[in-house]
Subunit: 175 residues, 2 copies
């Protein structure tokens, strides 16, 4: 639990340090048709803070297995991001994450609470412990995706080195 | 060129924001036998700053294709890291990178310089432009690797969500 919160706390600052004021080559380009740019990914992280993680935590604690989580709207980020700059999205992500972690800490969850169960629309029964671990790993899956999206922009520029650069061989799908 | 320098400038701060004082679950564990931990990766980035990138830039400018780059010692990070804390490595990486970028900017490279050629021990002729693009993409390949190493530690903890988390399906090799 402390490991999870430690990571969740750091992600906004890490993305900020990497992305703020970075040229648009890195932030607005994607990996091809129907793929996300880095800008899109940050919008998606914001949507998760708003409608996914803490609402699901609350639902587990309040209703257990009797209520099924809302499916996560993977297109929700488009509305979140419209007309905003990447810098505004980074600020918003940091603010929302900080508020959510305040709320999470305020729940004073004990070991026994982590075994409490909820109902996922596709998987069926899941535990609060799995939900919280997924929140942190979801940050990592999108950091992984962002590094891959950015590297994609230099795929040709690196010439023969492309065969040595693992990120250019990645077939993991992050969205 | 400016895109490359923009990214190279940000990597140390991004890794610092993500990793400093993070629990050892995230930083000292690896992905299994003969794989690297996050700590090892930062040591490898330091080795690159010392013996790889700028020495190769200098060699291209001074000797062109007549001299072959030293092969990069991928085990060199072990010596760099011995007895140090991750926080010391992060400081060292930031200091070395900053010095190297000062030197790179001081070269006042022009468009024509980027076409100058060097000789890679495996690929043969490469351009300065490709070398610089590779330096930046190498940062991304290791950010990609770090996010995968960290996610690996939660592979079981996420339960059924593992199938939705792209980073856990990644087969790109980064070392």
């Amino acid at each position: 639990m402390q490991d999870t919160i430690s990571l969740l706390t750091r992600t906004p600052a890490a993305l900020d340090a990497l992305l703020r004021d970075l040229p648009e080559t890195w932030t607005l380009r994607n990996e091809g048709e129907n793929t996300w740019s880095t800008f899109d990914v940050v919008g998606h992280l914001i949507a998760g803070e708003r409608v996914d993680w803490m609402p699901r935590v609350r639902m587990v604690l309040q209703s257990g297995e009797t209520q099924t989580f809302e499916p996560f709207d993977r297109g929700g980020h488009t509305r979140e991001s419209q007309g905003k700059t990447l810098e505004e999205l980074l600020d918003e992500f940091a603010r929302l994450r900080s508020g959510n972690l305040d709320e999470l800490r305020g729940l004073h969850l004990r070991q026994g609470d982590l075994e409490r169960r909820g109902r996922h629309p596709a998987f069926g029964v899941v535990t609060l412990s799995e939900l919280l671990a997924t929140w942190a790993t979801h940050d990592l899956t999108h950091l992984h995706q962002i590094s891959r999206i950015m590297a994609h922009q230099y795929r040709k520029a690196v010439g023969p080195w492309s065969r040595y650069l693992g990120v250019l061989q990645c077939t993991g799908h992050s969205s």
